[in-house]
């Protein structure tokens, strides 16, 4: 018997803030986050990457040259994870980061302006279209941003920084 019971608690146990007509901040389900790293010099095709996703749009997100995140709302069992990790063979390493990063959705007509309060990335649709991604900072917290809709963004943040990011977003949200 373990001395302490392991209790799974969400990193962001908060109700959504704001309403969708202006800006809404919402903690997304802690499903799975896979970090895909191409082996040196290997090209990974979009089809190979898509095979790791759960079939939803924007499941695969570019992070850096040769690196991607694959996210989804459903938690992966160890068997499913091993099966996915083996799919790319020697072309890439797949690291399970489900425990390490959490997702926050920012949506609404003011979403772009809320992000602009903390990020120096140009989020105008002509530059940052739906599906575009960026690894950047929100205030001083490292985040990965994906535009999932015209007025919708998803932020991926390290779990231990999630609460700080939530507070920063909430404070800035008060100005909208």
């Amino acid at each position: 018997m373990p001395e302490f019971a392991l209790v799974s608690r969400p990193a962001l146990p908060h109700s959504p803030v704001g309403d969708a007509s202006r800006v809404r901040i919402e903690a997304l389900p802690e499903g799975h986050v896979l970090h895909v790293l191409a082996a040196g010099g290997r090209d990974i095709t979009p089809e190979q990457l898509a095979s790791l996703g759960d079939g939803t749009a924007h499941a695969v997100r570019r992070y850096a040259p040769g690196q991607w995140f694959v996210v989804g709302n459903e938690a992966l069992g160890s068997k499913e994870y091993r099966e996915k990790a083996a799919r790319l063979g020697a072309d890439a390493a797949v690291s399970d980061q489900s425990h390490g990063r959490v997702r926050v959705a920012v949506s609404g007509s003011g979403a772009r302006s809320l992000l602009a309060k903390g990020c120096a990335v140009d989020f105008s649709p002509s530059v940052f279209a739906v599906g575009a991604t960026a690894a950047t900072l929100y205030n001083h917290i490292g985040i990965h941003v994906t535009r999932t809709a015209e007025d919708g963004f998803e932020l991926l943040v390290l779990r231990s920084f999630a609460q700080s990011l939530w507070e920063d977003l909430s404070v800035n949200h008060g100005e909208h």
Binding site: A64, P65, A120, V127, A135, L137, G142
Partner: protein, 91 residues
């Protein structure tokens, strides 16, 4: 200090996302001799004008870059991936 760096992978980003390592000097061969290694480790020019530096895009793509900038005007001439620069110098 140049305040907007055009990362070849991420686009224009503020300097706060980067960590500067210093002059992009070429590493000598292991058998180059003590003088060459002393110069590589300790001796630096302090140019007034064009200057190549290693910058790390710490809060972005986490790639090492070579930033060419002018120390007088803060103008940046170009930003290249350090791996690509190393590849050019090898070939």
């Amino acid at each position: 200090m140049a305040s907007l760096i055009r990362c070849p992978h991420c686009g224009a980003r503020p300097k706060e996302e980067f960590t500067i390592r210093g002059a992009a000097v070429t590493r000598p061969q292991p058998d180059a001799g003590e003088d060459a290694w002393y110069a590589y480790v300790y001796l630096r020019d302090n140019p007034m004008g064009p200057f190549d530096e290693y910058w790390h895009h710490t809060s972005g793509c986490r790639r090492w870059l070579v930033v060419s900038r002018d120390t007088r005007t803060h103008e940046t001439y170009g930003v290249r991936d350090a791996a690509a620069v190393a590849g050019e110098s090898r070939s």
